[in-house]
């Protein structure tokens, strides 16, 4: 049993503490009297006083931090100003939609990008490679919601094959759920896939130049054997790290795509909480996203150390 993971765990904890400290000071960081800002000019002094107490503004920053962290740890993330429901259950109710969207789009992104990246790396400068390079640059240059709008226009409005927006829980109506997911999943998947193609193509070109690729070809490897069984693994650490970052970031909410396709996920919860100045919800969403990013960062480190045996002895 080694304790090589301890420094990594310590750093993750530090990140979470810093984010918690910043989030619980959000109320103070707003310009002016937060109670006045949140309640408006028409509020009475008694109402404002009550709000200051709820937010802990009548106490010093350290006490506020301790009680905030204590609440988070015990599952009391505060109460939404707008809905009056607990923040934690507000957040958890939005997780399924976002998680489904994000996980499916990652599957699509990888399914498209890995074969394209490997085969264009095998024939650098060839026709496929030129098409793929131009295509990915184009996709990287265009924001994903533009792709989304074009897809809605084409597949939903003109062809009428798929619904343009909305969300039905999978448990209620599987077919309706999936048909509504196709366009947002493609929109997000294509955007992510473009990034993955560029990353994996670069590493695969490098791996193909290595003498071990030459050795495998002389030993009779076909193109697909070479690429899938000998090149993919040594080229994938960068890709895996990117996927983990992307999963972590987008599971915290994909603002644009969720808004565009009217999917009730974390991204839309964040947007509406910001609009309504629903401070407890904003704090909760920020902290939740941070926890996910940190968790996926750790998962990425573990995955990379599994892929490249040389890195197993290095403490992550």
């Amino acid at each position: 049993m080694t304790f090589a993971w301890l420094p990594r765990a310590g750093r993750s904890l530090l990140v979470l503490v810093v984010i918690a400290a910043l989030t619980c000071q959000l109320a103070v960081l707003l310009p002016g009297d937060p109670a006045l800002v949140l309640l408006g000019q028409e509020s009475t002094e008694a109402q404002r006083e009550a709000l200051r107490h709820t937010l802990g503004l009548d106490q010093n920053a350290f006490v506020r931090f301790v009680s905030f962290v204590g609440g988070v740890v015990t599952g009391d993330w505060g109460t939404s100003f707008t809905s009056g429901r607990p923040v934690l259950s507000e957040i958890l109710s939005r997780v399924p939609a976002t998680a489904e969207l994000v996980i499916l789009s990652q599957v699509v992104a990888l399914a498209i990008s890995i074969p394209l990246a490997l085969h264009s790396a095998r024939a650098v400068g060839g026709r496929l490679d030129r098409i793929v390079s131009t295509g990915t640059f184009l996709l990287l240059a265009v924001p994903s919601f533009v792709v989304g709008i074009l897809m809605i226009q084409f597949f939903a409005v003109q062809l009428g094959w798929l619904p343009a927006s909305g969300y039905t829980p999978f448990a209620e109506d599987p077919a309706g759920n999936l048909s509504r997911m196709v366009l947002p999943v493609l929109t997000l998947g294509i955007a992510e896939g473009a990034v993955y193609v560029r990353a994996l193509r670069g590493s695969a070109i490098e791996a193909l130049r290595a003498p071990y690729a030459y050795a495998s070809i002389v030993r009779g490897a076909s193109d697909s054997q070479l690429l899938w069984r000998r090149i993919l693994r040594p080229s994938s650490p960068t890709l895996v790290a990117l996927v983990a970052i992307s999963l972590g970031v987008s599971l915290g909410g994909t603002l644009l795509v969720e808004s565009l396709f009217a999917i009730p996920g974390l991204g839309r919860l964040t947007v509406s909480a910001l609009g309504a100045r629903d401070l407890p919800v904003i704090q909760g969403v920020v902290l939740f996203a941070a926890v996910i990013v940190v968790v996926f960062g750790i998962l990425a480190d573990i995955a990379v150390s599994r892929i490249d045996p040389r890195s197993t002895r290095v403490p992550v």
Partner: protein, 290 residues
């Protein structure tokens, strides 16, 4: 004598026949020759050293014979290459891969970089079987353990499950030799197999190559910049410079009476305990070479 009979004789006697081989690299519309009009042959069971300084085209010659070009480089190869009866410049796809796997075993220059860092050595040693034939994982594992024992690994059972970075330089090159012997190929090619190794390990690796070759009955092409190594290990020698053969012959004759000034310069560059110390390779004027 009819053609059929001629083919039988030539494929029996000669493992490798290279005739008027020319290779050009094409880049941005222009062509640059890297191999020009190279002709030589290698008989069954014999060994041939290809000698020359770096950039002489030795590795390119091997790549052109095998038809495995550097990635991203467009090459045009003309002439004729007959390897163990296969017309290498005309074979395509599956046939070419099978010919390579069955007839060629290759030992590469850099033992670490020529092993895939993410694959266990036992699996790499036997990958030819996985690529070209029907074989089970269990059979390959057993074959790998056996081959590793034959190239001097004592705990080959455990060692076959290691990754390349867990072995020493000499051990890695022994893996390379084991892999080259796997199919008992007609031709073993060593592309600077000892250049990246310690002087003390070099001799052991060369001895092991020789043993392996005797066991499998293979011919050998030994590419090296070290004329001393080639003289010691090869029956015949080819000296290359700037993509051409400048001298060829039986080793003893080439060493005793080098006809080309470049060969003489190479001979003089072999360090000797009793000789004068030269700092640089003394090369005659280029005009004398062409």
């Amino acid at each position: 004598m009819n053609r059929e009979a001629m083919k039988t004789i030539s494929s029996n006697d000669l493992i490798l026949e290279v005739r008027d081989l020319t290779a050009t690299v094409q880049r941005h519309g222009s062509e640059r020759p890297v191999i020009e009009g190279v002709t030589f042959s290698l008989a069954r069971g014999r060994s041939l050293g290809i000698v020359g300084e770096s950039g002489a085209g030795k590795s390119m010659l091997i790549r052109s014979i095998l038809g495995v070009h550097p990635p991203g480089v467009t090459m045009r190869v003309t002439g004729e290459v007959r390897l163990d009866g296969h017309d290498m410049l005309r074979l395509r796809g599956r046939e070419r891969r099978r010919a390579l796997a069955a007839s060629v075993g290759m030992i590469h220059q850099d033992p670490l970089r020529s092993l895939n860092p993410t694959i266990r050595v036992g699996e790499q040693l036997t990958e030819t079987l996985a690529f070209t034939g029907r074989s089970t994982r269990r059979d390959r594992a057993a074959r790998g353990v056996e081959l590793m024992r034959s190239v001097g690994f004592r705990n080959s059972e455990d060692e076959s499950r290691r990754y390349p970075h867990q072995l020493s330089g000499g051990q890695r090159q022994r893996i390379g030799i084991g892999a080259a012997a796997l199919t008992e190929p007609a031709l073993i090619i060593g592309d600077e197999p000892t250049t990246a190794l310690d002087v003390t390990v070099q001799k052991r690796v060369l001895d092991l190559m020789q043993e392996t070759r005797e066991r499998t009955g293979s011919s050998m092409l030994l590419v090296t910049h070290d004329l001393g190594v080639a003289a010691e290990r090869c029956d015949e020698i080819i000296v290359m410079r700037a993509g051409r053969i400048v001298e060829a012959g039986i080793t003893a004759e080439v060493i005793a009476a080098p006809s080309h000034p470049y060969t003489r310069a190479l001979l003089d560059s072999i360090p000797r305990l009793d000789g004068p110390r030269l700092r640089r390779l003394r090369v005659p004027e280029t005009g004398a070479l062409s």
